[in-house]
Symmetry: C5
Subunit: 96 residues, 5 copies
Protein backbone atom coordinates (compact mmCIF):
# COMPACT_ATOMS: atom_id res chain seq x y z
CA UNK A 1 0.00 0.00 0.00
CA UNK A 2 0.98 3.61 -0.40
CA UNK A 3 0.09 6.74 1.55
CA UNK A 4 -1.86 9.45 -0.30
CA UNK A 5 -4.08 12.45 0.31
CA UNK A 6 -7.59 12.75 -1.12
CA UNK A 7 -7.18 15.73 -3.46
CA UNK A 8 -10.24 15.78 -5.70
CA UNK A 9 -12.86 13.95 -7.73
CA UNK A 10 -13.27 12.63 -11.26
CA UNK A 11 -16.65 12.57 -13.01
CA UNK A 12 -17.11 10.08 -15.84
CA UNK A 13 -20.72 9.62 -16.91
CA UNK A 14 -19.98 7.29 -19.84
CA UNK A 15 -18.29 4.23 -18.37
CA UNK A 16 -17.79 0.55 -18.99
CA UNK A 17 -20.99 -1.03 -17.63
CA UNK A 18 -19.04 -2.79 -14.90
CA UNK A 19 -17.85 0.55 -13.53
CA UNK A 20 -21.33 2.06 -13.17
CA UNK A 21 -21.90 3.18 -9.59
CA UNK A 22 -18.22 3.41 -8.65
CA UNK A 23 -17.10 6.81 -7.38
CA UNK A 24 -13.58 7.93 -8.30
CA UNK A 25 -11.31 10.03 -6.12
CA UNK A 26 -8.08 11.78 -7.09
CA UNK A 27 -5.25 10.76 -4.74
CA UNK A 28 -1.89 12.51 -4.46
CA UNK A 29 0.89 10.21 -3.25
CA UNK A 30 2.70 11.18 -0.05
CA UNK A 31 6.19 10.28 1.07
CA UNK A 32 6.95 9.19 4.63
CA UNK A 33 7.51 12.83 5.66
CA UNK A 34 3.93 13.69 4.61
CA UNK A 35 5.01 15.59 1.52
CA UNK A 36 3.60 15.07 -1.99
CA UNK A 37 5.94 12.69 -3.83
CA UNK A 38 4.74 13.70 -7.29
CA UNK A 39 2.67 10.65 -8.19
CA UNK A 40 -1.09 10.44 -8.35
CA UNK A 41 -3.78 7.85 -8.94
CA UNK A 42 -7.53 7.66 -9.51
CA UNK A 43 -8.96 5.22 -6.95
CA UNK A 44 -12.32 3.73 -6.00
CA UNK A 45 -13.44 4.51 -2.45
CA UNK A 46 -15.22 1.89 -0.32
CA UNK A 47 -14.62 3.71 2.97
CA UNK A 48 -16.10 7.17 2.35
CA UNK A 49 -12.96 9.30 2.55
CA UNK A 50 -13.30 13.07 2.57
CA UNK A 51 -11.23 15.64 0.75
CA UNK A 52 -7.98 16.32 2.58
CA UNK A 53 -7.96 13.04 4.47
CA UNK A 54 -4.89 10.83 4.29
CA UNK A 55 -5.49 7.26 3.16
CA UNK A 56 -3.66 4.08 2.27
CA UNK A 57 -4.52 2.51 -1.07
CA UNK A 58 -3.78 -0.75 -2.89
CA UNK A 59 -3.11 -1.34 -6.58
CA UNK A 60 -3.50 -4.18 -9.04
CA UNK A 61 -5.69 -7.24 -8.53
CA UNK A 62 -5.85 -6.48 -4.79
CA UNK A 63 -7.91 -3.41 -5.72
CA UNK A 64 -10.75 -5.77 -6.70
CA UNK A 65 -10.98 -7.39 -3.26
CA UNK A 66 -13.58 -5.04 -1.75
CA UNK A 67 -17.35 -5.37 -2.02
CA UNK A 68 -17.69 -2.37 -4.32
CA UNK A 69 -14.84 -3.28 -6.65
CA UNK A 70 -15.23 -7.07 -7.03
CA UNK A 71 -14.94 -8.26 -10.65
CA UNK A 72 -14.69 -4.70 -11.92
CA UNK A 73 -11.96 -3.25 -14.17
CA UNK A 74 -10.64 -1.26 -11.22
CA UNK A 75 -6.91 -1.20 -10.38
CA UNK A 76 -6.68 1.13 -7.35
CA UNK A 77 -8.74 1.22 -4.14
CA UNK A 78 -8.65 3.03 -0.83
CA UNK A 79 -8.13 0.53 2.05
CA UNK A 80 -8.34 2.79 5.06
CA UNK A 81 -8.29 6.33 6.41
CA UNK A 82 -5.06 7.04 8.23
CA UNK A 83 -5.20 8.34 11.82
CA UNK A 84 -1.48 8.51 12.40
CA UNK A 85 1.86 7.21 11.25
CA UNK A 86 5.33 7.34 12.71
CA UNK A 87 8.80 6.54 11.43
CA UNK A 88 11.58 5.73 13.84
CA UNK A 89 9.30 6.76 16.70
CA UNK A 90 8.78 10.28 15.29
CA UNK A 91 5.18 11.09 14.46
CA UNK A 92 4.88 12.23 10.85
CA UNK A 93 1.13 12.75 10.65
CA UNK A 94 -1.85 12.81 12.99
CA UNK A 95 -5.42 13.35 11.89
CA UNK A 96 -6.95 16.37 13.59
Amino acid sequence: MQLAQVAGTVVASRKDEKMVGVRFLVLKDLDLENRPSGGSVIAADPVGADRGEVVIYSKGSSARQTEITRDRPNDAVICGIVDQWEVGGAEKYRKI
Copy 2:
Protein backbone atom coordinates in the same frame (compact mmCIF):
# COMPACT_ATOMS: atom_id res chain seq x y z
CA MET B 1 -6.55 4.22 -12.73
CA GLN B 2 -4.74 6.95 -14.57
CA LEU B 3 -5.93 9.89 -16.65
CA ALA B 4 -5.01 9.93 -20.34
CA GLN B 5 -6.02 11.45 -23.65
CA VAL B 6 -6.97 9.38 -26.69
CA ALA B 7 -4.18 10.30 -29.10
CA GLY B 8 -4.30 7.77 -31.95
CA THR B 9 -4.82 4.23 -33.15
CA VAL B 10 -2.73 1.10 -33.67
CA VAL B 11 -3.45 -1.36 -36.47
CA ALA B 12 -2.23 -4.94 -36.04
CA SER B 13 -3.70 -7.39 -38.53
CA ARG B 14 -1.64 -10.40 -37.40
CA LYS B 15 -2.53 -11.00 -33.77
CA ASP B 16 -2.72 -13.73 -31.20
CA GLU B 17 -6.08 -15.39 -31.92
CA LYS B 18 -7.43 -14.25 -28.57
CA MET B 19 -6.88 -10.62 -29.52
CA VAL B 20 -8.85 -10.80 -32.78
CA GLY B 21 -11.61 -8.20 -32.81
CA VAL B 22 -10.07 -5.97 -30.15
CA ARG B 23 -9.48 -2.37 -31.22
CA PHE B 24 -6.38 -0.64 -29.83
CA LEU B 25 -6.13 3.04 -29.00
CA VAL B 26 -3.01 5.07 -28.25
CA LEU B 27 -3.34 6.89 -24.92
CA LYS B 28 -1.08 9.69 -23.68
CA ASP B 29 -0.92 9.92 -19.90
CA LEU B 30 -2.03 13.20 -18.30
CA ASP B 31 -1.00 14.67 -14.96
CA LEU B 32 -3.52 16.27 -12.62
CA GLU B 33 -3.01 19.65 -14.33
CA ASN B 34 -4.16 18.15 -17.66
CA ARG B 35 -0.67 18.18 -19.15
CA PRO B 36 1.01 15.20 -20.86
CA SER B 37 3.18 13.44 -18.28
CA GLY B 38 5.36 11.67 -20.85
CA GLY B 39 4.00 8.15 -20.53
CA SER B 40 1.79 6.33 -23.00
CA VAL B 41 -0.02 3.04 -23.30
CA ILE B 42 -1.90 1.02 -25.92
CA ALA B 43 -5.34 0.17 -24.49
CA ALA B 44 -8.45 -1.74 -25.48
CA ASP B 45 -11.61 0.36 -25.64
CA PRO B 46 -14.96 -1.01 -24.47
CA VAL B 47 -16.63 2.41 -24.22
CA GLY B 48 -16.16 3.87 -27.70
CA ALA B 49 -13.86 6.80 -26.91
CA ASP B 50 -13.11 9.33 -29.63
CA ARG B 51 -9.82 10.95 -30.49
CA GLY B 52 -9.07 13.85 -28.16
CA GLU B 53 -11.34 12.63 -25.39
CA VAL B 54 -9.94 12.25 -21.89
CA VAL B 55 -10.37 8.84 -20.28
CA ILE B 56 -9.44 6.86 -17.21
CA TYR B 57 -7.82 3.48 -17.81
CA SER B 58 -6.84 0.44 -15.74
CA LYS B 59 -3.80 -1.80 -16.04
CA GLY B 60 -2.91 -5.38 -15.19
CA SER B 61 -5.40 -8.15 -14.50
CA SER B 62 -8.13 -5.54 -13.95
CA ALA B 63 -7.86 -4.78 -17.67
CA ARG B 64 -9.43 -8.19 -18.37
CA GLN B 65 -12.60 -7.45 -16.37
CA THR B 66 -14.69 -6.03 -19.22
CA GLU B 67 -16.85 -7.99 -21.66
CA ILE B 68 -14.54 -7.34 -24.60
CA THR B 69 -11.29 -8.13 -22.79
CA ARG B 70 -12.22 -11.18 -20.67
CA ASP B 71 -9.61 -13.97 -20.84
CA ARG B 72 -7.58 -12.07 -23.40
CA PRO B 73 -3.86 -11.20 -23.21
CA ASN B 74 -4.79 -7.56 -22.68
CA ASP B 75 -3.17 -5.47 -19.92
CA ALA B 76 -4.72 -1.99 -20.36
CA VAL B 77 -8.36 -0.96 -20.80
CA ILE B 78 -10.35 2.25 -20.90
CA CYS B 79 -12.85 2.35 -17.98
CA GLY B 80 -14.69 5.60 -18.68
CA ILE B 81 -14.74 8.88 -20.57
CA VAL B 82 -14.00 11.78 -18.25
CA ASP B 83 -16.47 14.69 -18.08
CA GLN B 84 -14.64 16.70 -15.47
CA TRP B 85 -12.09 16.54 -12.71
CA GLU B 86 -11.08 18.91 -9.97
CA VAL B 87 -8.24 19.06 -7.49
CA GLY B 88 -8.61 21.06 -4.30
CA GLY B 89 -11.87 22.46 -5.63
CA ALA B 90 -10.22 23.91 -8.74
CA GLU B 91 -11.53 22.49 -11.99
CA LYS B 92 -8.68 21.10 -14.08
CA TYR B 93 -10.65 19.76 -17.04
CA ARG B 94 -14.18 19.90 -18.38
CA LYS B 95 -15.37 18.17 -21.52
CA ILE B 96 -16.77 20.63 -24.01
Copy 3:
Protein backbone atom coordinates in the same frame (compact mmCIF):
# COMPACT_ATOMS: atom_id res chain seq x y z
CA MET C 1 0.23 -2.83 -23.98
CA GLN C 2 3.42 -1.21 -25.14
CA LEU C 3 5.04 -0.83 -28.55
CA ALA C 4 8.40 -2.54 -29.08
CA GLN C 5 10.70 -3.80 -31.82
CA VAL C 6 11.90 -7.40 -32.05
CA ALA C 7 15.63 -6.97 -31.53
CA GLY C 8 17.05 -10.42 -30.82
CA THR C 9 16.71 -13.83 -29.23
CA VAL C 10 17.55 -15.45 -25.90
CA VAL C 11 18.60 -19.10 -25.65
CA ALA C 12 18.07 -20.87 -22.31
CA SER C 13 18.44 -24.63 -22.49
CA ARG C 14 18.04 -25.24 -18.75
CA LYS C 15 14.61 -23.95 -17.81
CA ASP C 16 11.84 -24.47 -15.34
CA GLU C 17 9.94 -27.46 -16.73
CA LYS C 18 6.88 -25.31 -17.36
CA MET C 19 8.88 -23.06 -19.69
CA VAL C 20 10.12 -25.89 -21.93
CA GLY C 21 9.15 -25.22 -25.54
CA VAL C 22 8.65 -21.47 -25.13
CA ARG C 23 10.75 -19.32 -27.44
CA PHE C 24 12.01 -16.01 -26.02
CA LEU C 25 12.50 -12.84 -28.02
CA VAL C 26 14.33 -9.67 -26.99
CA LEU C 27 12.08 -6.62 -27.38
CA LYS C 28 13.22 -2.99 -27.30
CA ASP C 29 10.52 -0.58 -26.16
CA LEU C 30 9.50 2.17 -28.57
CA ASP C 31 7.97 5.55 -27.80
CA LEU C 32 5.09 6.97 -29.84
CA GLU C 33 7.58 8.58 -32.26
CA ASN C 34 9.02 5.14 -33.09
CA ARG C 35 12.25 5.76 -31.20
CA PRO C 36 13.79 3.39 -28.63
CA SER C 37 12.67 4.55 -25.18
CA GLY C 38 15.45 2.72 -23.34
CA GLY C 39 13.49 -0.14 -21.84
CA SER C 40 13.56 -3.76 -22.91
CA VAL C 41 11.85 -7.01 -22.08
CA ILE C 42 12.17 -10.71 -22.85
CA ALA C 43 8.81 -11.94 -24.16
CA ALA C 44 7.20 -15.15 -25.35
CA ASP C 45 5.98 -15.09 -28.93
CA PRO C 46 2.72 -16.79 -29.93
CA VAL C 47 2.42 -14.94 -33.25
CA GLY C 48 5.71 -15.71 -35.00
CA ALA C 49 7.24 -12.24 -35.11
CA ASP C 50 10.41 -11.69 -37.13
CA ARG C 51 13.47 -9.67 -36.23
CA GLY C 52 12.90 -5.98 -36.90
CA GLU C 53 9.12 -6.20 -36.78
CA VAL C 54 7.22 -3.86 -34.48
CA VAL C 55 4.86 -5.53 -32.01
CA ILE C 56 2.59 -4.77 -29.10
CA TYR C 57 3.13 -6.81 -25.96
CA SER C 58 1.36 -7.35 -22.63
CA LYS C 59 2.82 -7.83 -19.18
CA GLY C 60 1.79 -9.48 -15.94
CA SER C 61 -0.93 -12.10 -15.58
CA SER C 62 -2.32 -11.09 -19.00
CA ALA C 63 0.85 -12.57 -20.49
CA ARG C 64 -0.46 -16.03 -19.53
CA GLN C 65 -3.67 -15.69 -21.56
CA THR C 66 -2.39 -17.21 -24.82
CA GLU C 67 -2.36 -20.88 -25.74
CA ILE C 68 1.43 -21.15 -25.52
CA THR C 69 1.80 -19.29 -22.21
CA ARG C 70 -1.16 -20.61 -20.19
CA ASP C 71 -0.20 -21.59 -16.60
CA ARG C 72 3.48 -20.87 -17.28
CA PRO C 73 5.78 -18.58 -15.25
CA ASN C 74 5.76 -16.10 -18.13
CA ASP C 75 5.19 -12.38 -17.54
CA ALA C 76 5.49 -10.83 -21.03
CA VAL C 77 3.91 -11.88 -24.32
CA ILE C 78 3.64 -10.51 -27.84
CA CYS C 79 -0.04 -9.81 -28.70
CA GLY C 80 0.22 -8.69 -32.30
CA ILE C 81 2.46 -7.50 -35.10
CA VAL C 82 1.91 -3.82 -35.79
CA ASP C 83 1.07 -2.71 -39.33
CA GLN C 84 0.70 0.97 -38.61
CA TRP C 85 0.10 3.49 -35.88
CA GLU C 86 -0.77 7.17 -35.91
CA VAL C 87 -0.90 9.89 -33.29
CA GLY C 88 -3.02 12.97 -33.87
CA GLY C 89 -3.61 11.83 -37.43
CA ALA C 90 0.12 11.77 -38.24
CA GLU C 91 1.44 8.35 -39.22
CA LYS C 92 4.37 7.37 -37.01
CA TYR C 93 5.08 3.90 -38.41
CA ARG C 94 4.00 1.76 -41.33
CA LYS C 95 5.24 -1.76 -41.97
CA ILE C 96 6.92 -2.02 -45.35
Copy 4:
Protein backbone atom coordinates in the same frame (compact mmCIF):
# COMPACT_ATOMS: atom_id res chain seq x y z
CA MET D 1 10.85 -9.69 -3.40
CA GLN D 2 12.70 -6.64 -2.19
CA LEU D 3 14.78 -5.95 0.89
CA ALA D 4 13.50 -3.34 3.34
CA GLN D 5 13.81 -2.19 6.92
CA VAL D 6 10.88 -1.94 9.32
CA ALA D 7 10.77 1.80 9.98
CA GLY D 8 7.43 2.53 11.62
CA THR D 9 3.72 1.90 11.91
CA VAL D 10 0.50 3.21 10.37
CA VAL D 11 -2.74 3.44 12.34
CA ALA D 12 -6.00 3.45 10.37
CA SER D 13 -9.07 2.89 12.49
CA ARG D 14 -11.59 3.37 9.68
CA LYS D 15 -10.86 0.70 7.12
CA ASP D 16 -12.52 -1.36 4.43
CA GLU D 17 -14.19 -4.20 6.38
CA LYS D 18 -11.89 -6.74 4.75
CA MET D 19 -8.84 -4.99 6.18
CA VAL D 20 -10.05 -5.06 9.80
CA GLY D 21 -7.47 -6.78 12.01
CA VAL D 22 -4.54 -6.30 9.65
CA ARG D 23 -1.57 -4.46 11.15
CA PHE D 24 0.37 -2.15 8.83
CA LEU D 25 4.10 -1.52 9.00
CA VAL D 26 6.11 1.18 7.25
CA LEU D 27 8.98 -0.34 5.27
CA LYS D 28 11.92 1.58 3.80
CA ASP D 29 13.45 -0.12 0.77
CA LEU D 30 17.12 -1.10 0.97
CA ASP D 31 19.60 -1.56 -1.86
CA LEU D 32 22.03 -4.49 -1.93
CA GLU D 33 24.59 -2.45 0.06
CA ASN D 34 22.09 -2.09 2.93
CA ARG D 35 21.42 1.58 2.23
CA PRO D 36 17.97 3.16 1.90
CA SER D 37 17.12 3.32 -1.80
CA GLY D 38 14.47 6.00 -1.41
CA GLY D 39 11.34 3.92 -1.87
CA SER D 40 8.87 2.89 0.80
CA VAL D 41 5.78 0.77 1.16
CA ILE D 42 3.07 0.04 3.72
CA ALA D 43 2.92 -3.74 4.21
CA ALA D 44 0.95 -6.30 6.19
CA ASP D 45 3.01 -8.39 8.59
CA PRO D 46 2.28 -12.10 9.12
CA VAL D 47 5.67 -12.85 10.73
CA GLY D 48 5.81 -10.39 13.64
CA ALA D 49 8.71 -8.21 12.54
CA ASP D 50 10.11 -5.65 14.97
CA ARG D 51 11.18 -2.10 14.30
CA GLY D 52 14.67 -1.99 12.82
CA GLU D 53 14.58 -5.53 11.51
CA VAL D 54 15.38 -6.18 7.86
CA VAL D 55 12.75 -8.10 5.92
CA ILE D 56 11.90 -9.28 2.44
CA TYR D 57 8.46 -8.39 1.12
CA SER D 58 6.29 -9.29 -1.87
CA LYS D 59 3.95 -7.10 -3.86
CA GLY D 60 0.84 -7.58 -5.97
CA SER D 61 -1.41 -10.62 -5.91
CA SER D 62 1.36 -12.61 -4.18
CA ALA D 63 0.78 -10.37 -1.16
CA ARG D 64 -2.58 -12.11 -0.67
CA GLN D 65 -1.04 -15.60 -0.34
CA THR D 66 -0.60 -15.61 3.45
CA GLU D 67 -3.19 -16.65 6.03
CA ILE D 68 -3.70 -13.11 7.29
CA THR D 69 -3.95 -11.46 3.87
CA ARG D 70 -6.04 -13.98 1.89
CA ASP D 71 -8.85 -12.34 -0.15
CA ARG D 72 -8.05 -8.93 1.31
CA PRO D 73 -7.35 -5.71 -0.63
CA ASN D 74 -3.70 -5.94 0.42
CA ASP D 75 -0.87 -5.47 -2.09
CA ALA D 76 2.32 -5.77 0.01
CA VAL D 77 3.30 -8.37 2.62
CA ILE D 78 6.37 -9.26 4.63
CA CYS D 79 7.59 -12.79 3.69
CA GLY D 80 10.47 -13.25 6.11
CA ILE D 81 12.89 -11.63 8.53
CA VAL D 82 16.39 -11.51 7.06
CA ASP D 83 19.28 -12.98 9.03
CA GLN D 84 21.98 -12.29 6.50
CA TRP D 85 22.66 -11.58 2.87
CA GLU D 86 25.79 -11.55 0.78
CA VAL D 87 26.65 -10.37 -2.70
CA GLY D 88 29.64 -11.83 -4.51
CA GLY D 89 30.63 -13.59 -1.31
CA ALA D 90 30.85 -10.30 0.66
CA GLU D 91 28.46 -10.12 3.59
CA LYS D 92 26.30 -7.00 3.34
CA TYR D 93 24.13 -7.48 6.41
CA ARG D 94 23.96 -9.75 9.42
CA LYS D 95 21.32 -9.57 12.09
CA ILE D 96 22.81 -8.96 15.50
Copy 5:
Protein backbone atom coordinates in the same frame (compact mmCIF):
# COMPACT_ATOMS: atom_id res chain seq x y z
CA MET E 1 10.98 -11.43 -18.23
CA GLN E 2 14.19 -9.61 -17.50
CA LEU E 3 17.84 -10.63 -17.70
CA ALA E 4 19.83 -10.75 -14.46
CA GLN E 5 22.94 -12.23 -12.93
CA VAL E 6 22.91 -14.39 -9.81
CA ALA E 7 24.87 -12.23 -7.38
CA GLY E 8 24.29 -13.67 -3.91
CA THR E 9 21.99 -15.27 -1.38
CA VAL E 10 19.55 -14.17 1.30
CA VAL E 11 19.05 -16.14 4.52
CA ALA E 12 15.76 -15.70 6.37
CA SER E 13 15.14 -18.30 9.05
CA ARG E 14 11.90 -16.74 10.33
CA LYS E 15 9.48 -16.74 7.45
CA ASP E 16 5.79 -16.83 6.69
CA GLU E 17 4.93 -20.55 6.92
CA LYS E 18 4.13 -20.68 3.23
CA MET E 19 7.68 -19.60 2.37
CA VAL E 20 9.38 -22.35 4.38
CA GLY E 21 11.71 -24.35 2.15
CA VAL E 22 12.06 -21.69 -0.54
CA ARG E 23 15.63 -20.62 -1.27
CA PHE E 24 16.19 -16.95 -2.13
CA LEU E 25 18.80 -15.65 -4.54
CA VAL E 26 19.95 -12.07 -5.05
CA LEU E 27 19.68 -11.09 -8.73
CA LYS E 28 21.25 -8.01 -10.32
CA ASP E 29 19.39 -6.80 -13.40
CA LEU E 30 21.33 -6.67 -16.67
CA ASP E 31 20.70 -4.49 -19.69
CA LEU E 32 20.88 -5.86 -23.24
CA GLU E 33 24.62 -5.09 -23.37
CA ASN E 34 25.22 -7.37 -20.37
CA ARG E 35 25.90 -4.49 -17.99
CA PRO E 36 24.26 -4.06 -14.57
CA SER E 37 21.28 -1.73 -15.00
CA GLY E 38 21.08 -0.78 -11.33
CA GLY E 39 18.02 -2.75 -10.30
CA SER E 40 17.93 -5.89 -8.21
CA VAL E 41 15.43 -8.42 -6.96
CA ILE E 42 15.24 -11.33 -4.53
CA ALA E 43 13.91 -14.36 -6.43
CA ALA E 44 13.00 -17.98 -5.77
CA ASP E 45 15.00 -20.50 -7.78
CA PRO E 46 13.36 -23.64 -9.20
CA VAL E 47 16.18 -24.36 -11.67
CA GLY E 48 19.27 -24.52 -9.46
CA ALA E 49 21.18 -21.50 -10.75
CA ASP E 50 24.75 -20.95 -9.58
CA ARG E 51 26.42 -17.74 -8.56
CA GLY E 52 27.54 -15.76 -11.59
CA GLU E 53 25.14 -17.42 -13.98
CA VAL E 54 22.85 -15.27 -16.09
CA VAL E 55 19.14 -16.00 -15.82
CA ILE E 56 15.76 -14.75 -16.96
CA TYR E 57 13.18 -14.15 -14.26
CA SER E 58 9.47 -13.37 -14.06
CA LYS E 59 7.61 -11.11 -11.65
CA GLY E 60 4.10 -10.85 -10.25
CA SER E 61 1.53 -13.63 -10.28
CA SER E 62 3.54 -15.45 -12.96
CA ALA E 63 6.19 -16.01 -10.29
CA ARG E 64 3.77 -18.45 -8.60
CA GLN E 65 3.47 -20.72 -11.64
CA THR E 66 6.30 -23.12 -10.79
CA GLU E 67 6.07 -26.24 -8.64
CA ILE E 68 8.11 -24.70 -5.82
CA THR E 69 6.31 -21.35 -5.76
CA ARG E 70 2.66 -22.35 -6.25
CA ASP E 71 0.27 -20.58 -3.82
CA ARG E 72 3.17 -18.93 -2.01
CA PRO E 73 3.61 -15.19 -1.31
CA ASN E 74 6.42 -15.10 -3.87
CA ASP E 75 6.61 -12.38 -6.53
CA ALA E 76 9.83 -13.15 -8.45
CA VAL E 77 11.11 -16.46 -9.86
CA ILE E 78 13.95 -17.62 -12.06
CA CYS E 79 12.57 -19.18 -15.30
CA GLY E 80 15.75 -20.34 -16.99
CA ILE E 81 19.52 -20.17 -17.13
CA VAL E 82 20.68 -18.20 -20.15
CA ASP E 83 23.14 -19.81 -22.59
CA GLN E 84 23.32 -16.96 -25.03
CA TRP E 85 21.55 -13.88 -26.26
CA GLU E 86 22.02 -11.66 -29.27
CA VAL E 87 20.67 -8.30 -30.34
CA GLY E 88 20.62 -7.35 -34.00
CA GLY E 89 22.66 -10.45 -34.76
CA ALA E 90 25.50 -9.39 -32.43
CA GLU E 91 26.16 -11.81 -29.58
CA LYS E 92 25.98 -10.00 -26.24
CA TYR E 93 26.57 -12.95 -23.91
CA ARG E 94 27.57 -16.59 -24.15
CA LYS E 95 27.88 -18.91 -21.19
CA ILE E 96 31.37 -20.33 -20.94
